[in-house]
Amino acid sequence: MLSGMANPRQAAAQLMNFGLIVSTAFMMWKGLSVITDSPSPIVVVLSGSMEPAFQRGDLLFLWNRNIFSETSVGEIVVYNVKDKDIPIVHRVVRKFGTGSKAKLLTKGDNNLSDDTELYARGQDYLVRKDIIGSVVGFIPFVGYVTIMLSEHPWLKPVMLGMMGLVVVLQRE
C-alpha cells in the first residue's frame, strides 16, 4: 500500500477515496437533515423519562415538517432548551393557540411533573421553533453504544484499539 505513495496521482487518489467515504457519510446525514427539515434527524434517548414508551438507548427518527397538520397534543417531540445543547424527548401535553406562536407544554410520561422546571430561566413554555422534530419511528437499544461511550470515556480508546486490531489482523 505504501508503494503507491511514490506516485503523486496514486497518493492523491488514495487520499480522495478515504475522503469520499467520510464525506459521503456526512452528506447523507445532511441530506436526511434537509429532507426532514431537522438539524438532528436521528437522536438517542438519554433518560428514562419516557418509559415505558422509550428506554435509554433507543434510536429515534424525527420529522420536523408540518405538511398535513400542526404539531399537536399527544405527539412525542424532541426539543432543545435555550442555551443548553441537550435534546430532550417528551410528550406535548398542553397547547394554547395555533401556528408558530402556539404555546406548548411538554412532560415526560414517566415524570411526576411537567417540564417547566427543565426549561431555561424565564421560559415557561415552548414554541414551535424550539422543537427539532416529532418522533416518527424508533429502533430499540441500538443507540446504547453512544451512551456507553459518553458515560465511560475510557471505552473510546479501547474501542478504537479493537477496531485497529481488526484492521491489522484482517487484511483483504
Binding site: 508503494s3 492523491a12 480522495m16 469520499l20
Partner: protein, 231 residues
C-alpha cells in the same frame, strides 16, 4: 520500483497491483508518452465533491443548520451529482484502465489503452489493450490472459523480463518499440513449465489458451526452450 519489494504470492490484490505498477514503468522506459487524462478527470470530480462537503461542514459549523439549510440542500444535490458522475466515470469510462499512452513515432505512434482485471481466486492476469492509430481510428483490441506465475518467482519477487515479454509479444505497438522482448508464441506457452514438450502437446496447449494470444508477434521460428526465468 515494484520489483524491489517482495509480495505474498497468495495475495491476488498484491499480484495485480505490482503488475499494474510495472506496466507504466516499462512503457514509459520505452519512451511512451503517458496520458493522465482519465486519472485527472477522476481526481477533479472527487476533489470537487470533497470541496463541496468541506464547505458545507464549514457553514453548518459556523452559522448553524437553520440559517443555511437552503445552501445545504443545494450542496447535497451537487454532491450527489458529482459523486454519481464519478461513479459513472469509473465504471463506464475508465473500466479498470491503468495506462494510457502514445508510442514513440519511431514505433508507429499508436495510442494504447491498457486495462487489467483479475477474477476472484483465479491467479491469472487479464490484460485488455485497445489500440488507436495516429489518425484516431480504432485499430483493434488485444486480450491476454496469463498466469501470474510467469513473472513472479516462488518467493514473490517480480521478474521484469518475462512480464515485459508478454506485453511486447501481445501488443504490436509495444513490440515495435521493444523488439528484443518479442517472443515466438510457442515459447510463451512453454515458458510456464520446465518439462520439454513435443509439438503435439504444444498444439494442444495452444488450443487450450486460444484467444489469449490473438495477434502480435510474427512467429519467427518454431524453436522452444530458452527459458526467460532464472532458475
Amino acid at each position: 520500483m515494484a520489483s524491489q519489494e517482495k509480495i505474498s504470492v497468495y495475495n491476488l490484490a498484491d499480484l495485480k497491483n505490482t503488475s499494474d505498477d510495472a506496466i507504466p514503468n516499462y512503457l514509459n522506459s520505452l519512451k511512451f508518452r503517458q496520458s493522465h487524462r482519465l486519472t485527472d478527470i477522476r481526481l477533479t470530480l472527487g476533489y470537487g465533491a470533497l470541496a463541496i462537503a468541506a464547505a458545507c461542514l464549514g457553514w453548518d459549523y459556523k452559522f448553524g443548520f437553520d440559517a443555511t439549510k437552503y445552501y445545504t440542500a443545494a450542496a447535497v444535490a451537487l454532491y450527489s451529482l458529482l459523486n454519481g458522475a464519478l461513479t459513472l466515470w469509473i465504471f463506464y469510462v475508465e473500466r479498470g484502465t491503468i495506462y494510457e499512452g502514445t508510442a514513440p513515432s519511431s514505433a508507429g505512434g499508436d495510442t494504447i489503452r491498457i486495462s487489467t482485471h483479475t477474477k476472484k481466486n483465479v491467479p491469472e492476469y487479464n490484460v485488455t489493450v485497445e489500440v488507436t492509430g495516429k489518425d484516431g481510428k480504432k485499430k483493434g483490441k488485444v486480450e491476454v490472459t496469463k498466469p501470474f506465475t510467469e513473472w513472479f518467482d516462488a518467493t514473490g519477487h517480480f521478474v521484469a523480463a518475462p512480464f515485459q515479454s508478454v506485453l511486447a509479444t501481445a501488443v504490436p505497438a509495444v513490440g515495435k518499440a521493444d523488439p528484443k522482448r518479442v517472443a515466438g508464441p510457442k515459447e510463451g506457452a512453454a515458458a510456464t513449465t520446465t518439462t520439454t514438450y513435443t509439438p503435439e502437446i504444444l498444439e494442444a496447449l495452444a488450443a487450450g489458451t486460444l484467444g489469449s494470444e490473438t495477434s502480435g508477434a510474427e512467429p519467427k521460428s518454431g524453436k522452444k526452450g530458452e527459458r526467460r526465468r532464472k532458475a
